[in-house]
């Protein structure tokens, strides 16, 4: 018997994020369940009503309501002390849209669209698209545990060099907000769903660029994103290789221009004759040993052969312990002379050399073993200033380190969304990944200060460790921040509305 969507209130209010970088006592914890059976407009209306009622209840009780996805953000952007936390991950229904659902002005291929509810994870999308539809995501982050909506809400990105962040695949957003607002938001220049279709979902159609750009990366500050429609692409294979390359002028030029054609690609790497531009390009630098070659990862697009068996299954194996990164981080804080040695060992272990490994998008960016107490921060800079910024980061590490940290550079096109941090045309993202230790945080902050001092424009990943001062935020986002604020004030017109969708950590800095 099919059951209806429902909210389940959990008995324990203790909440922690996936990688255990913080924990809070929530006021209440809820889960949104989709009910059994496939998605229908009636079920979707019911699900939205439950959330809208919850919003009003939280508001009446003066509580903040935080929607959370996979809780993969390291920074305190999802759960919050005393807030009511709405876990969206169960709400994982998907639907295709027929040509009959489309607006007359829709210019794309309806067959490539997928409606995903807020709890659908990247893995679920990959598996459905690749195994059942012969289609694929064009881009995502480096692994698959986030919900699509949680990932877009912080502007998650990969290193597909001709694509923007994950949110660049979104063509419609269903946003539930204060005062019973159930909005279906699209771009005026890219209409998707017909008015009748939207009405069937109990939503109000709004074609508004500012609202759309605010909704793409919103950190839950506008309301609860109940679903999005994404554009997908035909399935393809990636042929991935990782090799050593000196940090020399040719590589630096490739990093500034997103064009690795001029670097020394080892002969065993098969470069497609007709299409030598890689789909994916990444460079990882070990700041502990200046003479250590970088690790370059290139992936080339290939047609998907009918013989390829897609396999995402996890294999049992021994690995570093769950708590090991935290333990080693603390250890290295106490004994920092060992940091270069241990980090270099980790660098070699984690970044193995290989050539021409084939996989679909979902096979390539798959499950990550969870680790407590790892730390990550990312800064996007204009690609033409990538090397200046990276050299400053290496120098900051030399002066204020050592820290158990490496620098990875990934590259993306300018991404849509007022608060998208990959906002430069194109962007080089410097990921500072390491163990969660005092030294790691110290070096990360020194890198930011060095960029401030050098006058290099940058913006920080919302979901990773960041230290956004009011000044840094305004410098990063300029008038886009004002646009986001204006949309939020219009949508959440009373102080009580805004309080319901606030985020303490951001309050002081964004001034929302």
């Amino acid at each position: 018997m099919a059951t209806d969507p429902k909210l389940h209130r959990r008995s324990s209010n203790r909440w922690q994020n996936w990688h255990e970088t913080y924990a809070v006592d929530a006021g209440r914890r809820y889960e949104l369940h989709p009910g059994s059976g496939g998605l229908s407009p009636a079920k979707f209306r019911k699900s939205a009503e439950l959330v809208l009622d919850l919003i009003e209840e939280a508001k009446a009780e003066g509580k903040v309501l935080r929607a959370v996805g996979g809780t993969w953000s390291f920074s305190q952007v999802s759960g919050q002390q005393d807030a009511w936390i709405l876990d969206t991950t169960y709400a994982n229904r998907k639907a295709r849209l027929s040509a009959g659902a489309m607006d007359a002005g829709f210019a794309g291929d309806a067959d490539g669209l997928l409606l995903v509810q807020c709890g659908v994870s990247i893995f679920e999308i990959n598996r459905y698209l690749e195994k059942e539809r012969g289609r694929s995501l064009a881009t995502s982050g480096a692994s698959n545990g986030q919900t699509f909506v949680g990932a877009m809400s912080t502007g998650t990105h990969g290193s597909a060099i001709d694509h923007g962040g994950i949110q660049s695949q979104v063509v419609a957003i269903q946003l539930l907000s204060a005062g019973g607002q159930n909005l279906w938001i699209e771009r005026p220049s890219k209409p998707v769903a017909s008015a009748a279709f939207v009405q069937d979902f109990g939503a109000e159609l709004r074609r508004d660029d500012d609202l759309f750009d605010a909704g793409l990366v919103s950190l839950g500050l506008l309301g609860v994103v109940h679903s999005v429609v994404i554009e997908t692409r035909p399935i393809f294979l990636l042929s991935a290789s990782q090799f050593e390359h000196p940090y020399d002028d040719r590589l630096k030029q490739a990093m500034r221009t997103l064009d690795p054609a001029g670097i020394d690609i080892p002969p065993e790497v098969q470069v497609p004759a007709g299409n030598p531009r890689p789909y994916f390009f990444q460079v990882v630098v070990n700041p502990h040993k200046q003479d250590t070659p970088t690790r370059v990862k290139l992936m080339y697009e290939e047609p998907f052969p009918a013989t390829h068996q897609i396999d995402y299954r996890l294999q049992g194996k021994y690995g570093a312990g769950f708590d090991l990164p935290g333990l080693v981080g603390k250890f290295l804080d106490a004994v920092d002379p060992l940091t270069p040695l241990l980090t270099s060992k980790l660098f070699d272990m984690q970044l193995k050399l290989f050539a021409n490994e084939k996989g679909t998008w979902g096979e390539t960016f798959d499950f990550t073993t969870p680790r407590s107490q790892t730390a990550g921060a990312s800064l996007a800079v204009p690609a033409d200033r990538c090397i200046e910024a990276l050299d400053l980061a290496i120098e900051a590490h030399k002066q204020f380190g050592p820290a158990p940290i490496v620098f990875a550079c990934r590259f993306v096109q300018k991404s849509p969304g007022h608060l998208a941090f990959t906002r430069f045309e194109p962007s080089c993202v410097i990921d500072m990944d390491g163990l969660n230790s005092m030294n790691t945080h110290l070096v990360i902050e020194r890198v930011r200060s060095a960029l401030d001092a050098a006058g290099i424009e940058y913006a920080q990943h919302w979901g990773k460790f960041h230290d956004l001062t009011g000044g840094r935020l305004a410098a990063s986002y300029g008038s886009d921040l004002d646009r986001f604020r204006a949309v939020r004030s219009a949508l959440l017109s009373t102080p009580a509305d805004r309080q319901t969708f606030s985020l303490a950590a951001q309050e002081t800095v964004i001034g929302l």
């Binding site: 889960e31 809780t71 017909s194 080693v328």
Partner: protein, 117 residues
Amino acid sequence: MNSLPKAASVLVLAVLVSACSTTHFFVVQEPLRAGGPERASADSFGGAIEKTEVLECESNAVAEVRVKRDFFNSLIGAITLGAYQSTSIEYVCSKSEDDEVPVLGGSERGEEGQDGD
């Protein structure tokens, strides 16, 4: 170099603590994890008392179980000659799969539309 004695003591402590801690992940092949890890206590008294703990998974399914024993758990077990065993257990619920992925909005392409209520 007074960091060396410090290094040695921290190293000894780290080895002690980590050598006596184990983590086992039991995870299904293609996990559909929902929510975060929840804690379930698993203290036992030498088999004399059995406690059935019901895991709070609305979907009736579990995606992952993490069993952790740390240095202190092991120490208490040793001191009480195994009579008292303390293990930290965390579980992650699983979500259910879509029964079907409907095509909404009519059946213009000859597919079965499911746009009715």
